[in-house]
């Protein structure tokens, strides 16, 4: 096919929503198979393809994302389907990738760019902090930057140095960025589409150990809901999910820690303790209400994250819950996080990562005797 590329329908350009809608419904009729076992990787890949169908200003680029389909295959088939103009490899230069995306977004495009691994996004830090995060503010809202920076993050895959960092705090700390991190296959699809539609820049943190996680998901239905705008106004942004209801204590987790928290809750249930698990979903903006409501109800909380605990997203969550729930708390809020050491070598990561036992120990410490 020879795609015509037009200006983004939402930001910094002229409206071409009608053509976008037409393309979208064509894509939507493609599969209607009902719930199927789907991997997170497939959900993300489908979200990218659907977004590219829906809006010709959506472009995908990065390192090895073209012919190869990305080292994790998240961009698989996009070049074949949409052509080399809309999904392409760049020179190896992360600042270049982000900086060029900024310029493209200024000039009417919606770039979705891939950083190959968490630690390889660091060369782009200046562009992200000084421009991606500040452009809208600096121009008093005249210039919107509808771009998505996808970052595979976190450990648990036996990766060597520089391939397992939990870098979310750097982005969450930077005013002007939104930070999403899905923890279910369905959220992988939903949240990536919402991120691409957003007129704000989104750092989209993908828990890489969950790329091969399978859930039974109806992608056709998710696509239909998204494109009919049924989810508009009740999207995922700023909305945490109760991943498992419970009554005795709240486990607060995001991204790769959510399945660990769920496993801990399952184990606790066998011991007769009912744990509620909250999946934060978007770190920025943070859903204070859902989290606080849960902790007020249970009176006890443990925050779980792979990242180092010091000056982290987990410390921010503890502070916020404490400010809002102090009089409802039966015990100090506990954290189970990575130690304050560089991410360890593969044979040591099991000692570093938050695991079920460490979470259950923390839960046991929540002063149940009083």
């Amino acid at each position: 096919m020879s795609p015509t590329i037009t200006t983004s329908s939402e930001a910094n350009g002229n409206v071409s929503a009608a053509t976008a809608r037409a393309a979208a419904s064509a894509a939507a009729s493609a599969d209607a198979a009902g719930p199927q076992p789907v991997t997170m990787a497939k959900a993300l890949n489908t979200a990218l393809a659907d977004a590219m169908h829906a809006d010709s200003s959506v472009l995908v680029f990065g390192e090895d994302v073209g012919l190869l389909g990305g080292v994790f295959r998240i961009t698989d088939g996009l070049t074949a389907t949409f052509g080399e103009q809309r999904c392409f490899d760049t020179p190896l230069a992360e600042s270049g990738i982000v900086g060029m995306a900024v310029g493209m977004a200024i000039n009417g495009m919606r770039p979705v760019i891939e950083m190959q691994f968490d630690a390889f996004a660091y060369p782009a830090f200046e562009q992200i902090v000084s421009h991606v995060a500040k452009m809208h503010n600096r121009t008093r809202g005249a210039v919107k930057l509808p771009l998505v920076i996808r970052i595979p993050y976190g450990g648990g895959i036996g990766g060597v140095e520089h391939h397992c960092d939990s870098s979310e705090a750097y982005y969450a700390h930077t005013a002007g960025l939104k930070v999403y991190t899905p923890a279910t296959v369905a959220d992988g699809y939903r949240m990536l589409r919402e991120a691409i539609d957003s007129d704000d820049p989104v750092v989209f943190m993908e828990p890489k150990k969950m790329y091969w996680t399978k859930d039974s998901v109806d992608l056709g239905e998710l696509r239909r809901l998204h494109e009919e705008g049924t989810t508009a106004g009740e999207g995922s942004e700023g909305r945490a999910a109760v991943a498992r209801p419970g009554t005795d204590a709240t486990l607060i987790a995001y991204g790769p820690s959510v399945p660990t928290a769920l496993a801990a809750a399952e184990a606790a249930a066998l011991e007769g303790r009912s744990l509620e698990v909250i999946d934060v979903r978007t770190i920025v903006p943070f859903d204070d209400e859902t989290v606080a409501a849960s902790v007020r109800k249970t009176g006890r909380a443990v925050v779980i994250a792979e990242a180092h605990g010091f000056a982290s997203v987990s410390s921010e969550i503890v502070a916020r819950v404490q400010e809002r729930c102090f009089h409802h708390l039966a015990a100090p809020i506990r954290r189970v996080t990575g130690f304050d050491v560089p991410y360890p070598a593969p044979k040591l990561e099991k000692y570093y990562l938050p695991g079920v036992d460490r979470i259950l120990d923390a839960v046991d410490d929540l002063q149940w005797e009083d």
Partner: protein
């Protein structure tokens, strides 16, 4: 020497060889690709410091590096902008001394570069300037008072980049070059013939984003002109500490693009070189790198003391090469400029200076709520809370102020 294929064209197989627009351009000039990319042996200079047009054979041109002298109308307009630019530079420096502006990095001495950078572009083209390029931004048509907002200190940028097709003056060195690349790339994908001029200084060429931007522009064959004002210093550090290259223009060949050096105090040569660079970019033979050889006549900013790192004799030497005087002499000698014309241009420059004094003479009331208004396109609940907190704090302050006034009655 082969040039790689256009990687982004879907209908071009990978590595198909040298038949792209650049090679076509080279064929047209009858020289090798290498001779096309390497800067001419001498910098291009058309009018010498004494204001005399140089004989054609001595302008530094050579096959494939030929430049026609721009037309009289363009030159007269450039002179007018030079005079206005000089006046604006000096007016702004005065406003800083009076405390009306926080800082002003003056381009005094570099006005020819400033003016040519703006005048070479068409309405649909884009410019990405640095902190030093306020005069270029104004010459592009942005309201002078809006340009100075960034230096007055009530907001980070005073104009709408989309309206003027001018990026916000960038401070983090060379980061803006990548934005220029992105704007050009987006335009190219849509089949538009936009040209983008991206500006930086000599010291900034050491930054990583300079390298990444030139490489991206060359690999994607984008219509970007990288315009480097070599004013010999990066704050206190002379160029020899930044680069061991034969010239900054020579860096172009390493990326696979053409480079050229030009006398940055000769607006005639600058316009000639930049006009052709724009034309080459417009028909697909970009990107290009143009190095302008100029001098920063004043300190880096008002906060800097340049006597700590350079000799006054050096500054005096460059004063004799002044771009404004040189152009006046040249145009007067050619009969293009007379006393009436000079008086009209001076009056215009004074009017712009008055506009600046007036526009910057008064404090614009700032709105504290603006702190929160533009951080996101879609506001977060946390910022709504913080905005309410500040509103409440201000309301309480106001109430206690009026209470104490009551009590004092």
């Amino acid at each position: 020497m082969t040039i790689s294929a256009n990687h982004t064209a879907p209908d071009t197989a990978r590595n198909t060889g040298p038949d792209n627009a650049l090679t076509e351009a080279v064929k047209k000039f009858g020289i090798t690709v290498e001779d096309y990319m390497l800067p001419a042996r001498h910098q291009i200079q058309m009018v010498d410091p004494e204001g005399r047009l140089k004989p054609e054979g001595e302008q530094g041109t050579q096959p494939g590096h030929e430049y026609p002298v721009p037309g009289d109308k363009e030159l007269l307009e450039a002179y007018e902008q030079l005079v206005v630019g000089r006046r604006v530079n000096d007016q702004n420096s005065a406003l800083v001394r009076q405390g009306r502006m926080a800082v002003y990095p003056s381009s005094h001495g570099q006005e020819a570069c400033q003016v040519a950078a703006a005048l070479c572009l068409g309405d649909g083209d884009w410019m990405f300037p640095t902190y030093r390029d306020a005069v270029a931004v104004m010459t592009r048509g942005v309201d002078p008072v809006q340009v100075m907002t960034i230096f007055r200190g009530d907001w980070h940028g005073g104009y709408d980049p989309l309206q003027y097709k001018v990026g916000i003056q960038s401070t983090p060195l060379t980061t803006q070059l990548l934005h220029a690349v992105g704007v050009a790339h987006a335009a190219k994908l849509r089949g538009e013939d936009t040209v983008v001029l991206a500006m930086c200084g000599d010291g900034a060429t050491s930054e990583g984003d300079f390298h990444e931007a030139l490489n991206f522009a060359a690999v994607f064959h984008l219509p970007v002109i990288f315009f480097v004002q070599n004013n010999k210093y990066a704050i206190s550090v002379p160029l020899a500490h930044q680069s061991a290259a034969p010239s900054l223009a020579h860096k172009a060949v390493g990326y696979g693009m053409a480079g050229e050096r030009v006398d940055g105090n000769d607006v005639v040569a600058l316009l000639a070189v930049l006009d052709r660079a724009v034309a080459l970019c417009r028909d697909g033979s970009g990107p290009l790198l143009v190095e302008a050889n100029t001098y920063r006549m004043q300190a880096h900013t008002n906060a800097d003391d340049d006597t700590r790192y350079r000799e006054s004799a050096e500054v005096a030497e460059w004063r004799a090469k002044d771009p404004v005087n040189r152009m006046r002499t040249y145009l007067t000698g050619r009969g293009i400029l007379d006393d009436d014309g000079e008086a009209r241009i001076r009056a215009k420059a004074e009017a712009v200076a008055a506009q600046l004094r007036e526009g910057l003479g008064e404090d614009v009331p700032v709105d504290p709520q603006e702190l929160f208004r533009h951080v996101f396109a879609v506001q977060t609940p946390q910022l709504k809370e913080q905005s309410a907190f500040l509103a409440d704090e201000l309301a309480r302050d106001a109430a206690s102020d009026s209470d104490s006034k009551e009590a004092g009655k």
